[in-house]
Assembly symmetry: C2
Homo-oligomer: 187 residues x 2
């Protein structure tokens, strides 16, 4: 059975374990085994740092995984969770197919604009600090969107804000796409 690394900021929810269980059940329904970061019982040996133990445990899960599905819903700002984005890059570097979803439909520039006024500059838009705001109709920084186009797929869904990190419609769309793009996997 192919394994799927389940990346996303839902690990920070109070009910993180329950979300992980639901994701793993959906994986099984599509013929995959889901590897969820919280599955690691982190108990570092005396004196070792907890954060480094978590890092190594996640790295081990990622190495074991055949593919990755990343929850790239905006997190504490207009972009996705930094830990999830790091893991996305890592999986691409390791040559694994990656699928991503976001539970917000607005594109990147719309979310930046919601927080501050943008200034027009020769056909571009700049933020209050003078920094260019990408305007390619993407959900996030172009490296993220284009990586998913090149190495797997991206699903965008509008989800009620109260369920921003719990709704699994986009996650299931990624599972369907993973099944379609790997015909050896039977549902």
């Amino acid at each position: 059975m192919l394994t799927v690394y389940l990346a996303g900021p839902e690990v920070f929810l109070p009910d993180a374990a329950e979300i992980g269980r639901r994701k793993q059940e959906l994986c099984v329904a599509y013929g995959f085994e889901g590897l969820y970061p919280l599955d690691n019982k982190i108990a570092p040996a005396g004196g070792a740092r907890v954060d480094q133990a978590i890092y190594r445990a996640n790295l081990d899960l990622i190495r074991r995984a055949d593919i990755g599905i990343c929850n790239l819903t905006p997190f504490r700002g207009p972009s996705a969770d930094a830990g999830t984005v790091y893991e996305l890059g890592l999986m691409v570097g390791l040559g694994k197919p990656v699928y991503g979803y976001t539970n917000v439909m607005d594109d990147y520039i719309a979310r930046v604009r919601a927080g501050q006024e943008l200034v027009a500059d020769k056909g571009d838009w700049r933020d209050a600090a003078g920094l260019l705001v990408e305007d390619f109709g993407n959900a996030d920084n172009l490296m993220i969107d284009c990586a998913l186009v090149a190495h797997g797929g991206y699903a965008m869904f509008r989800t009620p804000a109260t369920d921003l990190y719990r709704d699994l419609t986009g996650f299931e769309a990624c599972l369907r796409r993973a099944v379609q793009s790997r015909p050896r996997v039977s549902v």
Copy 2:
């Protein structure tokens, strides 16, 4: 001469080319060749998307690079620029040593707290949405800090806010560390 991929949100500055030139000059002073994303003249063939052309050009530079230095200064939120974080993960996955710097000394939870009140919950801190805020004394999400500890090094410097994306003190510290950790490179 070893090549260094120069990742960071300074590509969004109005004077991005000038910053890139300064970074490349510093690279030469330390015996490296700096590969700066803007060096790519992006002119996609008829009908091709500009964002995908930029992605492929950056990917080519990253594949050519022997090591990476990432500007992880917080960007539009408490975490680093998502594009830079993606590239950091990609370089780790490709087995390249990576060095990072940030021009803000505060740790992650201090920056999240500056934007909203946090709630204590059984020894943890949660944000207004109930999501756990990591409190390991790291500069960013633990995956980023721990990756740099494991695969290169991290430099943190307090820089005047006006120079947040231009100050190269941390960048130069990364160059020094890269030289020290690769004794075959002579300054």
